[in-house]
Symmetry: C2
Subunit: 77 residues, 2 copies
Amino acid sequence: MSKSIFYHAGCPVCISAEHDIVNLIGAEQVEIVHLGEDRERIAEAEKAGVNSVPALVTPNGNTLHLNFGASIADVKA
Amino acid sequence: MSKSIFYHAGCPVCISAEHDIVNLIGAEQVEIVHLGEDRERIAEAEKAGVNSVPALVTPNGNTLHLNFGASIADVKA
């Protein structure tokens, strides 16, 4: 099974949710992507249905938006 | 370690998120609470910081709001 992907942008809400997700599903089960640093992956996140960060894209392609840190529009700005 | 608690209200967004969470962290790691049926647990959910469903309260007490199905106010109405 492929990993989940956790997209974030370094905001406090993102970091808090990242810790929770890593604790819940295990660091080896999730790839962490910082869209503020890996800007070339913003398009990939949008394609997966990510409208805001933090968000978790599951191995079967569903997107879970976790709380609300920032919109993708703000991350792109 | 205690379980996470997943609060929902039977809405389609809730059911979809429930499947994702159970797949990610395992059915034995999460208690599922349907606030529409277990109405006496609404106060407990509010105390844990749940403002909308679906939401996951982690073993260390953090609340993750997952996507958005319904506000707690709507669940109580």
